[in-house]
């Protein structure tokens, strides 16, 4: 069975390494500050007993007052999982650091989030739209898409 790592336990440990970076931790997910995201992700990937080598799923949700980015991480060697989240409050120029340097799997998925939510991943080598064409008006998966048309 893939064991879901206890987010509160992990949060306590991360809090020591990265003071102030943990925004929230509940039973099944860990919310971190987006500025610290690359450092925390790198820690999760490179600490031997955590060894999160596999970024399964990367997506975003528009909660109107903020965007939430959701990363489903997995460790193939240790067979455990973690749901990592971060928030972005800027609707005009939402920017989150890219994780392509850590997991190649983020490449197409970050482009998809950019295409459909308009969230820019800083540091992504090829931040272009992927399904829709350049010049498409708006970002369809935002909740306010199509308002006032």
């Amino acid at each position: 069975m893939t064991a879901a790592l206890s987010a509160p336990d992990l949060a306590a440990r991360l809090e020591k390494e990265f003071p102030g970076a943990i925004v929230e931790s509940n039973a099944d997910s860990l919310v971190v500050d987006s500025v610290k995201l690359p450092d925390i992700a790198s820690f999760l990937k490179n600490t031997p007993e955590l060894d999160f080598d596999y970024l399964t799923n990367l997506t975003a949700v528009d909660y109107k007052e903020h965007f939430e980015l959701v990363y489903h991480l997995l460790s193939i060697s240790r067979n455990h999982s973690l749901t990592l989240k971060t928030r972005c409050y800027d609707r005009e120029n939402p920017t989150v650091p890219s994780l392509v340097a850590l997991w190649n799997a983020a490449d197409l998925q970050e482009r998809e989030v950019y295409d459909l939510f308009g969230i820019v991943f800083s540091g992504h080598p090829n931040m272009k739209r992927i399904f829709l064409w350049e010049g498409f008006p708006g970002y369809p998966l935002r909740k306010d898409f199509g308002d006032g048309v």
Binding site: M1, T2, D53, Y54, L55, T56, N57, T59, V61, D62, V70, H72, I76, N79, T83, W103, N104, A105, D107, L108, Q109, E112, L116, I130, F131, L132, W133, P140, L141, F145
Partner: protein, 367 residues
Amino acid sequence: MAFKTEHFMLNVGPQHPSTHGVFRMRFTLDGEVIVDLEPIFGYLHRGIEKLAEDRTYTQNIPFTDRLDYLASMTSNQAYCMAVEKLAGITVPERAEYIRVIMSELQRIASHLAGIGFFLQDLGAFMTPLLYMFREREKIVDLFDMVCGQRLNYNYLRFGGLSQDIPPEFIPALKKLVNALPGFIDEYDRLISENEVFLVRTKGVGILSREMAISSAAAGPVLRGSDVNWDIRKSNPYSVYDRFEFDIPVAKTGDSFDRYWVRLQEMRQSVRIIEQAIEQLPEGDVQAKVSRLLKPPAGDAYVSIEGPKGEIGFYLVSDGSVKPYRWRVRPPCFINLTTLRDIIIGWKVADAMVIFGSIDIVLGEVDR
């Protein structure tokens, strides 16, 4: 005297017989050698994830059929399991067994189509595909028997199935399951030792173990690269912990290994189906679930082992009848992350072999 040369741009697709739908690739060539590749997506983008936000949970089941339309049953199952987790629904045991049977039949059907089209891409025009479709047809007939559909099954429901299997299903299934190993041996004999096939696929398009993991490749693409990872074993869902089966893993990560893993997986699927028929319990196939389901507010991610790899659903509920967010974790799309890296350095003629060995369905890539 040195001649001045320059790179050549070659456009393939979106309308091209080897792109399995409407996929487009822009190659940069140095003579015949590929020096760069830009995959271009989106020709089949229907905005399913947006459309799903405006429909009830049940109305969204048919959308899952239209993702990977060669593996609708497993997409059905992944979505139903995600909603069941979100709403806390338990599935009757008989329904779980039937789901497993359908899932494994679907895996065989998908791999048959995958291998058939792969050989067609290699230039073995039509003959292998017709051999594969001979058996796939029998599986499709079985699906037709249970749900009246041959492609977009819409068979599963939250908490069970739309209907029980008819009495004639099990005898027909037993007949097929008895015959299948012989047919798989035949494919093995015809393909795995074919010299032309070996020359064109052995050592071609090698995906390293590290790259496969880092790119979150899944399914036969991952297991072809020496990673022993199958969600049916690593995180047994449904009733998979009650069956004995092996996970075929290949070492090299070349196009041949990806084909080989698919072929061996069909044998394992037959083993699972045989055990499932034997253990199949009597009883209901549908739990009591509200017709207009309102899962409590929250989110859930569930993923299962589909034929192409990890097919998952991330759902966010706000407590209403419609999902607030409906995200598919598409194995075909994510498997394409590595495409550029494994194609560069090969010749144009090899590009189609490598691309075909990944086995994608555009309905799921573009959604």
